[in-house]
Subunit: 211 residues, 2 copies
DNA sequence: GCTAAACGGAGACTACCTCCCCGGTTATTT
DNA sequence: AAATAACCGGGGAGGTAGTCTCCGTTTAGC
């Protein structure tokens, strides 16, 4: 049964294609062209068609990969952080890496009635929902919020605006901290007191460092 | 000197085109097609070319109009609200109507070195900047934030995610309130204690009511 | 009711996108 | 190190969609 294992370079290219697809999706929206993804990945467009059978299949695998990473992050955050709100904050930060949270809405629209994708999604939603209710029942988080508020806010903040040369990671992080602080019941500043740069727009272009 | 005044129907159509362009821009991104805008406005595409000389000119006027409305809103908010933070909140709510705040980043990328647009933009930025420093010096708003943090967050939250049938106004409002609460120095819940719907995603599709 | 302004649709032309084929390149195996 | 099979990028055919213009018809305003 199949999967004769990919050659090393083919495997590398497959990863690159998936990563490029994520980037391209969040920047250009759901109907980004295959050519654009290929350009970004630094491969010929034929390579994409060789590895995936068509657009739908590509997006399917993008979705699966992203959902997998996020689910794992949610589990680790829950396990390694002491309280639910810190876990949510950590999860949010991880989800902002490579705009992961913003990829999902782009994929869903294009892959209707895709069963495994739907299942993976429900699993992630369940985990985050648990974190939220846990934070709420322990009194750390306000009660007038539902899952959708948090997740769509996360997706929106994570998604880069067109025109920004490279998403300034620092800004996104700060915005997420702001959001989390808004979620809190009591004020307890989690945001490092980084002096505000008085410049109007983006500061130095930060590298996408992992947390 | 020129501007022989438009006929009533032409004038109406011009408004419709500008409004449709805003909608289309925030939904499809900066390189949305003229055809799509015409479809949305319910006019033939020739009508757009009759009223504006090309894509650049259309976006220029979209930008001017949006900047004009937002500037006026900022001034009114400052004049009519008692404190700077309330003014910011009010401004943010108004800017979320018709996704106004999200239109601007779409326009800027396409209209480089457009002097009047740039001037109008600086004017608005100045007003908002004043509101922010005012809120900060009176101790209502945390100091580790700059103009860009607030404005890009506003633009992102205001921009609809692809796939959402109609932006659920209620959700956007709540997210903005969350953001403003995150800005505060002390907790003082501005958010009406609307009981959280436990449903996973969007609740009822709200109409885009003005504030 | 007349006239000039405005309208929508259709058409020419272009650009880009999808998908496949082919001659050259590279990883792997012995 | 040579053989071989997997893999690669570029280019091309066919198709779709976009931009902008022309033209016969409709409509607002006097």
């Amino acid at each position: 049964m199949t999967e004769p294992r990919l050659r090393a370079d083919a495997c590398r290219n497959r990863e690159r294609i998936l990563a490029a697809a994520c980037e391209a999706l969040v920047e250009h929206g759901p109907e980004v062209s295959i050519e654009e993804i290929a350009r970004r990945a630094g491969v010929g467009n034929a390579t994409i068609y060789r590895r995936f059978c068509g657009r739908h299949d590509l997006l399917h695998h993008v979705g699966l990969e992203v959902l997998g990473v996020l689910t794992e992050e949610a589990e680790r955050a829950r396990a390694e952080e002491v309280d639910a709100l810190s876990a949510l904050r950590r999860f949010a930060h991880r989800a902002s890496n490579r705009s992961l949270a913003a990829v999902l809405p782009m994929v869903y629209g294009q892959t209707a009635d895709d069963e495994p994708l739907h299942a993976a999604r429900e699993r992630l939603l369940g985990l985050v929902k648990n974190l939220m209710t846990s934070a709420q029942t322990t009194g750390m988080m306000r009660n007038d919020l539902c899952l959708g508020d948090f997740l769509t806010a996360l997706a929106k903040l994570t998604r880069p605006l067109p025109g920004s040369p490279r998403p300034v990671v620092d800004t996104v992080r700060r915005q997420i901290d702001l959001l989390i602080d808004g979620l809190r019941t009591q004020r307890c500043c989690t945001c490092p007191e980084r002096p505000a740069s008085s410049r109007t727009h983006a500061g130095p272009v930060g590298s996408t460092t992992d947390d």
